[in-house]
Amino acid sequence: MPIQLIYELAVPPTRLDEVHALFANDYLPAARERGMTFTGAYITPPIELDDAPTTLVLQFTLPDANAVWAMKRQVTDSAEVAEFWRRVDGIVVSRQRRFLAPYAPAEA
């Protein structure tokens, strides 16, 4: 079962395109090389707001736990990744990075 990884970036009005372009150009190519499969970009609320942050959700999958650790090892001392997040943090209001797992209620 692939592992889901999502980034949630709270982007101030008018800057969604800027943040998405930064991600597409300066993060995504190397992320793919680290074994991350990009599965889509979403916004919530499902329309760009003009008076409050809109959250840009970036979704990835990785095949298993070993792939997660391999990805993390490649980032540990990466100046490029650190610089990317420094630039993002200069724009966004906040950000989160979460791993997800499928949930199904236990059978009675």
Binding site: A65, W69, K72, D77, S78, W85, Q96, R97
Partner: protein
């Protein structure tokens, strides 16, 4: 008990005979240092990170008997040995007040030690939350048979790093550490977010010392 843990990095040119002398000397220290109750020298498995070649676990009967590191080497007549063979020592010490030994009779097992540095700018509530999450690992990883987590004494750190904590486990099998400990979502998907440089709530400075060695009888149960 009051414990000291030293991670030893050898000089690359140390010969097998010299290493044998080092192992004998450091393993034979208990009767040479007043108040030292227990000692264990463990040679690290391959692929450990940031902690050199050996973990040297020491336990004193109380804080007063744990003399300063240079004095310990002097009393045990090991100053010249260290000068010749040990390129770097990372040592920390603490009162053993947070140790959980469910399996005191464990034998022929793996002792794992992690030195880490929580950024000192971390707000106390956040640091406490990190402590709570990290020490939750034994509930999700049955392979952890015994464990201990301690804040080290700031005024007695030896070496170039300002370590803040030691996280230790005893596993019956090597697979308990290399597989169970690593594949649980509690570790890679939750605990590690406090270590991960891409995580906005990271609190642990980069560069941990992650080491493990074989041991015959429990160290955490001293």
């Amino acid at each position: 008990m009051y414990r000291r843990i030293a991670l030893l990095h050898l000089h690359p040119q140390a010969s097998p005979d010299e290493i044998a002398v080092l192992e004998r000397e450091l393993g034979d220290i208990v009767n040479r240092v007043p108040g030292l109750a227990h000692a264990h020298l463990g040679r690290h498995y391959p692929n450990t990170v940031g902690g050199g070649e050996y973990t040297w676990d020491l336990a004193f009967i109380d804080r007063e008997h744990c003399v300063a590191w240079p004095d310990q080497l002097r009393v045990s007549e090991q100053v010249d040995l260290f000068a010749k063979l040990v390129a770097r020592t990372d040592a920390v010490q603490f009162a053993a007040t947070n140790t959980h030994v469910a399996q005191p009779a464990i034998t022929d097992f793996i002792k794992r030690t992690l030195f880490l540095e929580v950024e000192r700018s971390t707000p106390p509530a956040e640091a406490q939350n990190f402590d709570r999450v990290l020490t939750g690992m034994p509930r999700y990883i049955p392979a952890i048979r015994n464990w201990a987590y301690h804040r080290v004494d700031d005024d007695a750190i030896i070496g170039p790093r300002r370590w803040t904590h030691v996280w230790e486990q005893e596993f019956q099998e090597l697979s308990g550490l290399r597989v169970d400990y690593m594949v649980t979502p509690y570790h890679w998907g939750y605990v590690d977010t406090w270590f991960d440089p891409e995580s906005p709530h990271r609190v642990v400075a980069s560069g941990v010392a992650h080491v493990y060695c074989a041991a015959a009888t429990t160290i955490l149960g001293w």
